[in-house]
């Protein structure tokens, strides 16, 4: 039975971490621990100034610190 996250592969996804960080990227894959491989990633650090960091290419995000996944999300309002 395919998981909901499977359906997000190939799409943009917005990930909220336990800390004040959010990640937006294109989902390439994931594993049983919901560690995720993303590309074209933008990292947002949620501060009063709304700092943003943009990274290129691919990222492996450890699932330990993920709080929430938002399929098709664009991240926090800047």
């Amino acid at each position: 039975m395919p998981e909901l996250v499977d359906k997000c592969i190939g799409s943009r996804i917005h990930i909220v971490m336990k800390s004040d960080k959010e990640i937006v990227g294109t989902l390439l894959g994931f594993d049983d621990f919901v560690n995720m491989v993303l590309e074209d990633v933008t990292e947002f650090e949620i501060t009063p100034e709304g700092r943003r960091i943009t990274k290129l290419d691919q990222i492996l995000l450890n699932g330990n610190n993920i709080t929430m996944l938002v399929p098709g999300g664009e991240g926090p309002e800047v």
């Binding site: 800390s19 390439l28 290129l56 691919q58 990222i59 492996l60 995000l61």
Partner: protein, 96 residues
């Protein structure tokens, strides 16, 4: 651009030997060449530079970053351009 499904373990095999940055939750970055890592995401880096708040603080020939149970490195990003690949870690790590 064709989509290539890639699992985390595939990705990790791909980035060994490439320059990466390991970012700890404390805001400390370690930039070096990824020598190896294991299933607990313990990491060995070569030619490592330590950045605190964006400022270069130390250089190590070799660095071992311990992946604590549960608080292992979070993000690894490799680029094929001149920009250094980026490894991001949200957990608490020890560097030897």
């Amino acid at each position: 651009m064709s989509l290539r499904k890639q699992t985390p373990s595939d990705f990790l095999k791909q980035i060994i030997g490439r320059p990466v940055v390991v970012k700890l939750n404390s805001g400390v970055d370690y930039r070096g060449v990824l020598a190896c890592l294991d299933g607990y995401m313990n990491i060995a880096l070569e030619q490592t530079e330590e950045y605190v708040n964006g400022q270069l603080k130390n250089k190590y020939g070799d660095a071992f970053i311990r992946g604590n149970n549960g608080n292992s490195p979070s993000l690894y990003s490799c680029t094929t351009s001149k920009i250094s690949p980026f490894v991001y870690n949200q957990g608490h790590q020890q560097v030897f």
